[in-house]
Symmetry: C2
Subunit: 346 residues, 2 copies
């Protein structure tokens, strides 16, 4: 048998499942007090305490949620964790553990899997979350990553989508549309590359929007400063499918209407620039783009001054009665009904 | 546009993600006291209490874990739940919630998805588990089901793999090898069918082994009667990869050796019959077959009489010191070293 050269990738089959898991998880240290038992038994053990536990799960599928042509595996692992943590923060809770299930074909090497795990571990470190369990399996087709996040919060501080009241302020962290526009740029460069592989991709000045797409962050900081300022939102949701869709969810769950203002919607200048380049409407990118992982929340009017003073949070409108529906007030003062863009299983 | 006939399958694209989830989960009722909030928000909410929480996750991939040619979708949904619950029982805990993530291509109809969910719901009802969250997404390739189960148990009653002590009795519920032999029969009939589609599959007298493969059960009953009899195992694991592999895990985690007796290993007569038909060794099927989802546990010698009296539990050997290794005593009194069969990512 030929000896393998040092730089040659290690086929997955060279390690068994148990050795593979051991290899990938050898550097993982348990840090959360609530993580009693991590990887290595039939199930992980988490201490209960009096807090409520929050559970969220998401699946990322190759060719649907990511394209490996332009997605670094490390970023992919990172993003897969972050999108789940975002759901836990969106309940005003603190994520503490995750489990990771991976299906991948034998065309991946051990080194490729290591890269995914590096991204997963990096996110775990940054967000102080323990990886406590998982499953690694083969797949005849592409790569599938399924992550479940577990969080904690005192029961009366858990914030659902359903608590928004008339006259509440509608607040949003960060800015919108960048992740969507980043994806359009990547897709454009992919087409160019496919038509002529000698052309180098032109991604200069696109750092922000590309990072928003490839390596997004969850708004841990927002949950921390809301807690610090004693602001308990009446309702909250994370922006994963676009602002319109999330506002409609929130309005429906809370049995209210919403009115937001076009000129209040935060959009980064680099998003606007790229929109012009791509001949896209920045407003459409913000309303329907998705994958921003910002937090959309409502607070009582009493909190107006405190919220207004928060860095990186914008008041974009207010809650109305259910009969008024979900409206955008355009720059020229026209009322436009908000609509969710058709979902296609992504 | 042509009107769809009543029996024609409904394409998945006819419903959006949210309508699809609503449609599939409309009959789901929350029953567990600990399930505070189910499907419909960013995350599910589970009350903590003083109990420890147990988390287990498993992924089933089309073409790797199941073949849709002979796997009814309803059974598949059922099995996907059961294999996860088995992991929770194997910690001596009671499963209370699950989340379900599904990736499937557009070639599936809404009705096919309904069948999977019927199986999921049936398992939820039988095992008194709440479906509290999930994700449904498209896939360019086959069907992937990822389930996370959450269970509860008082911290000092959680049973790990690592507590077995020298002289403990090694106990096993049910019988082994049937699920593996069932799979071989299904694969044989598939080959026959593929060579000549006019030949009807010959599955007479195979009910037991086929059910063990296609619609296995988790040993909830064993956990209940162990609790009732006040027997706290010193270590426990479920038999998913074959008895040899599980004994090696248990021995390694507990830093002990094991000795089991060939003539004590419970194998059903119909498994033995099918093994003869297929020219397989029943012992090999039992040791390396896997997917039995029986519970393998160790108890202190003090419990000998109580365990011996338990219906459906067999004492198959005892724990030795680590230096003695993992041994099978054959029918002719020879010592054979137990080996795990090579895993290939399944």
């Amino acid at each position: 048998m030929e000896e393998r050269k040092q730089q040659e990738p290690t086929p997955l089959g060279d390690l068994g499942e148990f050795k593979l898991i051991e290899h990938l998880t050898q550097h993982i240290k348990i840090k959360q007090k609530t993580s009693v038992l991590g990887i290595g038994d039939d199930a992980a053990v988490i201490s209960g305490g009096n807090a409520s536990k929050l559970i969220s799960t998401d699946m990322l599928v190759e060719g649907v949620h990511f394209d490996l042509l332009y997605t670094p595996l490390k970023h992919l692992g990172y993003k897969a964790v972050v999108v789940n943590l975002s759901d836990i923060y969106a309940m005003n809770a603190i994520p503490e553990q995750i489990t990771v299930s991976l299906a991948l074909s034998n065309r991946y090497s051990v080194e490729a899997l290591e890269e995914i795990y590096e991204g997963i571990q990096l996110a775990c470190e940054l967000y102080e979350v323990d990886l406590v369990g998982g499953d690694t399996t083969s797949s005849q087709a592409g790569l599938v990553i399924s992550i479940t996040a577990i969080g904690s919060q005192e029961g009366d501080k858990v914030v659902k989508r359903s608590g928004a009241k008339e006259n509440d302020l509608i607040c949003l962290s960060g800015d919108l549309g960048a992740a969507f526009v980043g994806l359009q740029i990547l897709e454009r460069e992919k087409s160019v590359y496919e038509s002529d592989q000698k052309i180098q991709p032109d991604l200069s000045g696109k750092d922000y929007i590309l990072e928003r797409q490839l390596k997004p962050e969850a708004r841990k900081d927002v949950i921390h400063f809301l807690g610090k300022e004693n602001i308990l939102p009446t309702a909250m949701i994370d922006v994963s499918d676009g602002l319109s869709s999330e506002l409609l969810h929130l309005a429906r769950s809370s049995d209210v209407g919403v009115q937001i203002y076009e000129d209040k919607i935060p959009i980064d200048p680099s998003t606007i620039n790229s929109c012009e380049e791509l001949n896209l409407s920045p407003l459409t990118a913000a309303l329907n783009g998705g994958e921003d992982y910002e937090l959309l929340f409502t607070v009582s009017l009493d909190h107006h001054d405190k919220v207004k003073a928060l860095d990186g949070v914008t008041i974009i409108g207010h809650v109305t009665d259910a009969a008024s529906g979900c409206q955008l007030v355009s720059r020229d003062q026209k009322l436009v009904e908000l609509k969710a863009q058709g979902w296609t299983g992504v």
